[in-house]
Each structure stands twice: as C-alpha cells, then as structure tokens.
Symmetry: C4
Subunit: 253 residues, 4 copies
C-alpha cells in the first residue's frame, strides 16, 4: 500500500488559488474555522486523501455506511477578480513526526499542481487559562506577509508562540518556503481545554478580512453558546477555588 493515497473526483481549474488549511489541533480552532467556511460558502469537495499515517479507523455515517478517516480538499470559485480558494480539512493529522512531514509534503505537491502560491494555515494557541477576548497571533514566511496581516488585526508578538508551531499548520509554512509558496499561520488564543468556536470566529474574522470574504457567524455562535454553558460552570469553580481557598481547606480536615 502506498503511504498516502489521494483520489480526485474532479480536477478544478482555479484562478490563482489560495489554500486555507484547518486540521484538528489545539481547541480544534483551525478545523472549526475551516469547516465553518466550507459550510457557509458551500465549497465543493474534489479530493480525498487517506494514509497509513492516520489511525486504522473507519467512521460510521448516520445511514449505517462507513468511510475511512481522511483529509479532504474543497474548492470555491469566486467572482470578480477575487482569487479562488482551496480548503483542506480532515479527521486527523499524521500520528508520527514522519507522517506529519510526508503528509504536508504531499499536500504541497497537490496544491502546487493546482497553482497555489499562497497558503493560510489556521490553528489554536493554547494558553492554559480561559480567555475572554482571544487575540489572533500570526507567523509568516516573509516580512511583507507579516506587515500585510497586521492590517487585518493579526498580532505578531516577539516570543509568541515561544514553542513554535507544531504540525501541519507549521510544516506547510516551513516546507512551503522550499517551493516559493508564501504562507501565514493564524492562531486563535484558546484555553486548550475545550473546542473553542469563539476563538475560531476570531481567526475567521482576520482571514475573511484578508480574503475579502463575507461570512455569517450564527452557526459558530450557536456552538460557542453551547460550549459557554459548559465552561461557565468551570469558571465558577475556578473562581470559588481562588477566592475561598482557605475556607475550603478548613472543611477537609
């Protein structure tokens, strides 16, 4: 079996396309953002990638049929002189470092053939605590791109993220440089404890501004409201703990 198998149902002709990647990761921020974009803009699926680097697993659909875990390519043609879009989403990232490198390399092979010269990768930036107003942090392959994205509210702050960017959202930038594809990673701040639609929205706002896309956020807001219900309880507990620590301890002994 080949390490990676890609099947295309269509080979779309695209106008100077831009890739938007949103695979699972911290707070599932990138995946939520990219999937929301696909749903709202009714992007069309045209390719499926399966791999030995993914878990050996099939998912069961509502009608009782199955599909292999995969990464999937969508495209969106745009009017006027706006550049077309390719979106990459999926169930998993590669399970091993080797798999991560091979998968990003393969993705670059595919999109290079489709004429992609610019990539946005979307992800979360885990900060280990609840965040009311998540910032969108950025990192890019060149300084001009950095300056461009600052205009769309993206924060480039020295020393953040200190540990670098791990996974596809980082590798597409790092390996893209070797092919003269410019790329920018947008990272929404998130606790890292929950899936975070609020952070995904912030990332999308910056991205849509850069792409000149208009999008509805009500579906993401609904998800955010659901998560908020769950997390608000946690915040209460956090507050109680920090305020009444001494008192609480009295009751233990």
């Amino acid at each position: 079996m080949k390490e990676i198998i890609v099947e295309f149902t269509e080979k779309p002709k695209l106008k100077d396309p831009i890739l938007v990647e949103g695979l699972p990761g911290v707070g599932n921020v990138g995946k939520l953002a990219a999937e929301h974009m696909i749903d709202e803009l009714k992007a069309k699926k045209f390719g499926t990638l399966i791999s030995k680097f993914f878990p050996p697993q099939v998912l069961v659909k509502d009608d009782g049929t199955i599909r292999l875990v995969s990464n999937d390519f969508y495209y969106l043609k745009r009017k006027d002189k706006k550049r077309d879009l390719i979106l990459l989403v999926g169930d998993y990232q590669g399970l091993t470092p080797e798999g991560q490198y091979e998968l990003s390399w393969e993705v670059l092979d595919i999109i290079e053939q489709l004429g992609v010269k610019r990539i946005f990768t979307l992800g979360g930036y885990g900060i280990g605590k609840m965040v009311e107003e998540p910032r969108v942090l950025g990192a890019a392959t060149n300084k001009k791109f950095v300056e461009e994205m600052k205009k769309h509210g993206v924060v480039f702050q020295q020393g953040e993220p200190g540990s670098g960017i791990v996974g596809a959202s980082g590798l597409l930038l790092g390996l893209g440089v070797m092919r003269n594809i410019e790329a920018c990673c947008l990272m929404g701040e998130t606790s890292g404890y929950f899936v975070d639609p609020k952070s995904a929205r912030k990332v999308l706002e910056a991205l849509c501004s850069a792409l000149e896309v208009k999008i509805e956020f009500s579906a993401l807001e609904d998800k955010a409201a659901q998560i908020d219900k769950i997390t608000s309880r946690f915040k209460e507990i956090e507050k109680d703990l920090s305020e009444n620590k001494a008192d609480d301890l009295r009751y233990i002994g």
Copy 2:
C-alpha cells in the same frame, strides 16, 4: 525480510466466495466467533501469513514444538448453490497503524485473487458494563447491504459506534470500497472486560442467518458458562456497591 510473508499449502478454487474475518479485539468476540465457525464447519486451513508487524514471538504447542504468531486462512466448500467461505483468524492484529493498513491491504490482495466480492468482519463493541442481551450492531459499505442485514436482526443505530471501527474489522470495509468489494462489520455488544462467548454467539447467529449456515453452539455455550461463573462474582460486587454504597462508606471512616 519482506514486511508480510504469505505461504499457501493449497490454492483452492472457490465458488463466488465470501470472506469472514475474526481477529483478536474487544472481548475477543470476532476471534471466538470465527474460530467456532471453523471448528464446527470443519473448514480447511490453506494459508499462513506472518509479518514484521506482529510481535516477535513464537508460541509453544503441546508437543513442545513451536510456530510463529500468524494470521491464518481457512476455506469451506458448500453444497447446492451456496457461496463458498473463506475464514481469516489469527493470534494478533498489526501492532502499529502502518501495520494495520498494510495487513488489511495484503488480505484484500489475497482474497481479491480468490474471487471474493463480499466480506463480513466480526468484532466486539465495548460498552463498559455487563450486558444481559447483547445486540449486534452493524456498519456496511453500502445502503443496500445495510438493509439486507437489518433483516437478519443486525441493528444500525445512528451514532453507534460513535468512535468508529478501529483495526482490521474497520479497514477491510474502508479499503474494500476502493476495490469494489462490499463489506459489513458485525459488532456484538460486550462489556470489554472479559472474553465474551455470549456476544460471539449473537454475532454468529446473525452471520449464519445471512450465510444460510446451520451451526451448533454447545461449545460456545460451555465457554460462556465458564466465563459466567467468573463474571457473576463481579456482578454481585457491582450490585453490592450500588445498593449499599452509603452503608459501605460508613465502615471506611
């Protein structure tokens, strides 16, 4: 050394054969079911598969001689116009995701050459608690197969199994689609804490109904009785704990 080595003692000519896979997994349901079928129907071994993806281990037989851990192929010729059967059982599944994919790919290569166009994979569905009347859940590669298996008592329930199907029982379906081999996975509900001959029997009942096979279950019933002795003690403890929790706790302090 090749990653997978298959040795055939015979290349049987089979009449539109159906593969039944039962490798180790949750509650060993699939393995128990397939091995019982081989024993009862006196299926004949014709191939052995060894692999670097299995543990580096030999097993010692009762006469002091050894054999490498393996997966093994059996066949059963059937009278009238009934389709012949191939059965796949073994000591282990692949140890790594890569191994899982390669092994399922190899199995598909082998059975495709033998003319297989339909697969049943057998497994357990762990639900984390004792279950008196295990259901048999299903998932298949197409809707027609789903409808067919409903007639044999198999349950296709939305959202189950929520985590998909992991291992050979899933991959043979997922990778089978790519070769136009239709496949259905039958999963017997099981606690996941013990090997479960009772669940294996339920799976076999559904399978035998679909295959028009008649089979004795007394050997499985004996195994089930043995396991019941062990598990009944656990059930008592479980009951005690849930009924007398308050009382029990009194004695701790």
Copy 3:
C-alpha cells in the same frame, strides 16, 4: 545507511556447524551462558553486526577508546568428528518488533551461508520468584529434536512457557523453520529480578551434554556467589514478610 551492517574479519570454513545464540534477555541467562562458553572454549570472533535497530550508542572501553553497540559472531573448530560451533552474543536485541524480525532474518542469512543446519537459542524463563533448583525448559522446531533434548534433561512441559518465546530466541526457531534449519530453545528458570549465573549454568549443562562439550564452571560459580550475596538479603526480607505479616501490620496503624 543500511538497516543492518555486517563486517567479517574472516570467513571460516566450518564442519557442519551448529549455532549457539545467547543475546540479552530475562535474567541475562542466555547472554551469560553463551559468553561463558566463548571464554572457556576460547572461541574466535570473526564478525560484527551493527544496526539502526540497536540504541544509538557507543560503549567506552577501559583504554578510553569506543566501539558501537553490536552483535558479534564467534566460531570454534572442534576435533574428532564433532561439529564446529558458531556463537552469537551481543549488547542488545532489536528495539522494535520490526527490528527483531529483520535482525533474526539477517542472522539466518549469515549462518545459512556458513552451512548451519542446527541452532540452539539460550534464554531465561522468568517465573517471578526465587528458584533454588532451576529447571531447563525447552521448545523445538520438530518432535525428534524434542525427544533428543529430553535425554539431556531438558523439560518439555505442556503449557510452559504459556506466553510463548519473545525475541531472537524465539524468532530464530520460527523463521528457521522456513529455511529447514532445525532449532531448539533452552530456557533456564529464573526469578527475572537479577542476572542469574546459576540458571545460566543449568542451561549450559544441558547444552554441553547435547554438544559433547566439556567446560569449567568456576567463573560462573564466582558470579553466582556474588549475586547470591545480594539476593540472600532479599530472600530474608521475603521470608520476614510472609511469616510476620500480621505482626508487621500491627505496627502500621
């Protein structure tokens, strides 16, 4: 880099040679036994095997120079009509299942070219408690070999070892079958907590009887005495615990 690199300083012509393998494992029984045999019989080193499947490590010799961790081949020419011997010892076994298979495969390639038709693999059989008179358990590739070794005091007991034989001592048997090389594994009972020269001696006694080799055991006895000093203290503790359990517990509360 090749996965396995073998360098020979000499290609000895050997008379119907027998391989004796003793690599690290439970209680280091096999390694102790084979190394003792090399020392006592003054076997001559003629080949070194290094591999990516070993740890990335060099060892420092007493004179400050280094050598890569390796497996090493020795040979011993014997007078009269006795078959010559090849001995395989080393610092490590392969770190992964794949590595284990590849290394055993390579060893079989090498010894097949040297004319080996019979193998003895040496190892320990961990039983989890101190053992005064360790038995030597066996497993072999054919029944005739089983019967032969029974005459040398080797025990072939149904159900032992229940978990099979893991590592090179098992794979050389299992993969040897595929090349018509007959092989027998000799396993000395051992606690599994310490290196066990006493168990190694028992294994050697059976082996030397089978090979018609005479050997001194004083060096092994010295090692055994050292280990005995350490383990006797443990035995005392064990005894105290089992005899005075009730009393001991009194002091806890």
Copy 4:
C-alpha cells in the same frame, strides 16, 4: 519527501578541516559550547539540514517569520597553518534510534566530502548532583588520540561513562571508525538538571587548547551567572534537607 534534506548556500574549500559537533543533550553542554564558539569566532553558516526525524515544527523568529527546526553547518577559515573548522549545531537530535543513525551517517557523508579526517563531539556527562569543578571526560576512536587529549586536561577514566555515549556525540565516533575518520568526544560533567554554561566553558577550554584557538568566555560567564542565581537556591534547599533531616521529619507527624 526524502528522509533528510540538506541545502548548501555555499560549498567552501577548506584546509584539512576538523568538525566540531555540539547538538542538544545533557545540560545542553555541547550545544552551548559549539554555539559560543560560532558566535565568538564569527563562523559562517553554509548549510542547513532538515529531516523527518526531527519534530514536525517551525520556530518563530523575532520578526514574525518562521524557520523549520534544523541542524546547521558553519565554517571558519584559519590563518597560518592552522586547520580550518566546521561546526555543527542545531535545534534537535533525531527523535528515534533509526533517525539518530541516519542523521549521523548523513553528517559523515557531508563532512567526508569536505575533507574532514578529524572530529570533536561535545556533550555533557550527567552525574545527578551539583558539581563545583566539572571535569572534562573523554573517549576517542584510537589510543593515540586518547594520549593527545590527556595533554589538554581531558580525563580518560576507566568505567566512565559507564553507560556509554548516546546520540550523535557517540555515533559520529562509532560510525566514523568505519570511514577512517578519527574522533574524540569531550564530555563536561554536569548535574543534568539545568543547562550548564560552566560545564560548557570547561569543555571549550580543553577543545580550544587542542585546536589552538583563543576565545573570550565573558558571554558564557554571563549565562553561568544567571544559572548560578537559580541553582544556588536549590543548593540551599539541598543543604537544609541533608543537615536537618531529623528535625524536619519531626514536624511531619
């Protein structure tokens, strides 16, 4: 994607060059030492190595742009008849044993082409406690090199390091032997709990003596002072614990 990709910005012609390797490891002693040497001697970067054996990660620079994690080659031309230097530093070593072997093999391929016949590898030797005056231990590929390095204060002590040398600092020696490249590993004693600029300085002093290099240590001294502030607090705690153990315990009950 190739397992290892090396890009050169320049192929320098070097005079009988010596490789100095300092990759991350115990106390980061080797990395600190080699990076300090690069900074002080203003060595010039000429090659970058990326690999699937490294983490799938990019690092973010102060200007918001990124770079893949890598190993990097620098060179330094020297006047008079002094041999030129190549320095190898980097973010990571290979993540797996296989990766470690492949990367060291590749490094040897590269430097062999550049004419390297002598290597110094730098590392730390963890001893598990604070050390006031770290010794520099050595190991080399031949006895003559051992004797040479003793003159520069390097200690070759029987039984140290007992566990051998793990990683690139060991493999470059072990695999170098196979290519007739002589090599010496210099290991600075270090607790293993902190990055250790003091140990790095000791290693550099021995190295610079051997290479006839003059170097400033003030930058390393500044780092050492910072670390000292942190570690001195730990030393106090250690002292308290050992002196007042009995007293401390009184307060627990």
